[in-house]
Structure formats: structure tokens, C-alpha cells
Symmetry: C2
Subunit: 138 residues, 2 copies
């Protein structure tokens, strides 16, 4: 496991306080959008500029340090890049959960039937998490 410092330097990015703070905050939040991230960081980093946020989120996404997560009807969220996974989104409490799901068979199916080479996949299931199912029964 490498430090943020190393991750940044391996991608030819200077390990600035701002970038490290951004990465720490995203790691802590899991999935977070620009606004929430900015408000969080401002508390302990009052001079941080919004432009710096946007620029770095783009750059770090380009370099695959971050991943942009697009969920239906929501602002783009950012997460640390890790192993591929799908998202379970509770449309009652809003919780976003990561899950590993093997879909190789479906990808094969799609490739063979459609002459399409699949390079990446993006899967979101929306519904009700455990807690919200239970609450609705009451």
C-alpha cells in the first residue's frame, strides 16, 4: 500500500497539501460530490479555492487516481480508484454501497451477440437497503 504522496508522485503530480487533503477527504467519505467535499475541506483549509478543487478532481480522474461515479439523478461523485465494483444505491436513505459482482458472463454474451468489444462497465442497482426495508414494514 502506497501513501498519497507516492501515488501523486508516481503520476507526475506534486504532492501538495491541497491534493493530499482532497484524497484524504474522499477516502473518508467514500463517495462525495464537489460541493460537499469543498465545504468539508474549507473547515480545516480556509484558503482552498474552488478552482483548485475542480482542477485537481479532473486531473486526478484523468490519471486514474480517482474515479467519477455517475449515479442517475445525482451530481457526479468521486471515489478513490480501487478494484472494479458496482453500486447499490438506496433511494430511500441515499446510502451508496460498493459490491463486487462477477459479470464476465454477461459481458461475453454482449460481445458475442453484438460485435461489441467491452472495455469497461458501469452498473448501478437502485432500491432499498436492509435498514430501509425493515423500517417500511413497521
Amino acid at each position: 500500500m502506497s501513501s498519497y504522496q507516492e501515488i501523486l508522485q508516481n503520476n507526475n503530480l506534486k504532492a501538495t497539501h491541497q491534493r493530499i487533503a482532497i484524497l484524504e477527504a474522499i477516502d473518508h467519505a467514500g463517495h462525495i460530490d464537489v460541493d460537499k467535499l469543498f465545504k468539508n475541506l474549507r473547515k480545516h483549509f480556509p484558503t482552498l479555492a474552488l478552482g483548485t478543487m475542480y482542477r485537481n478532481l479532473s486531473e486526478m480522474s484523468d490519471k486514474h487516481i480517482l474515479l467519477e461515479v455517475t449515479l442517475p439523478g445525482q451530481k457526479v461523485k468521486y471515489e478513490l480508484k480501487k478494484e472494479p465494483h458496482i453500486h447499490l444505491v438506496c433511494n430511500w436513505c441515499g446510502k451508496i454501497e460498493d459490491r463486487i459482482l462477477d459479470i464476465e458472463d454477461k459481458i461475453k454474451e454482449c460481445e458475442e451477440e453484438n460485435d461489441f468489444t467491452v472495455l469497461d462497465s458501469n452498473i448501478v442497482f437502485t432500491g432499498l437497503c436492509k435498514k430501509c426495508q425493515d423500517q417500511k414494514k413497521v
Copy 2:
């Protein structure tokens, strides 16, 4: 098959020229974002207001006449609501294809392993379409 007029009226929306033009244009384009839609419609409908577009796209999505399609790294696109399907997006030529893919087994798997009730799914495969695969071989 019902006309746009009927679809709108069934949803308690007046069948205005603007709404019908929007639905026709979306049907013709398949998947289209606000800007392109507005530019297209303005050609034959010079007084159309941008606010009217936004308002109607939201309303018609709320009423499930339209569907908002969120693809990674792109502006939200709109399509006519039809049977559920996934999207194949060529990241070379940009083409967006609709495909039916049975994923009931994966949904079951997810529900059983995670205590999560899946109500809707959103699946995008990005890669290379037939044409672009061939061109890259040359």
C-alpha cells in the same frame, strides 16, 4: 401504439406544439442532450425558450414519458421511455446502442447476498463498436 397527443393527455399534460416537437426530436435522435435538442428545435421553432425545454424535460421525466440517461463523463441525455435496456457506448465514435440483456440472475444474486431490494438497474458497457474495431485493425 398511442400518439404523443394521447401520451401527454394521459399524463394530464396539455399537448402543446412545444411538447410534441420535443418528443418527436428525441424520438428521431434516440439519445440527446439539452443543448443539441434545443439547437435542433430552434431551427424550425425559433421562439422556443430554453426554460420551456428544461421544464418539460423534467416534467416528462417525472411522468415517465422520458428517461434520463446518465452515461459516464457525458451530459445527461434523454430518450423516450420504452422497455428496460442497457447501453453500449463506443468510446471511439460515440455511438450509443440499446440492447436487451437479461440480468435477473445477477439481480437475484445481489438481493440474496446483500439484503438489498433491487427496484431498478442502470447498466452501461463502454468499448468499441463493430465499425470502430474494424477501422482500428487497418
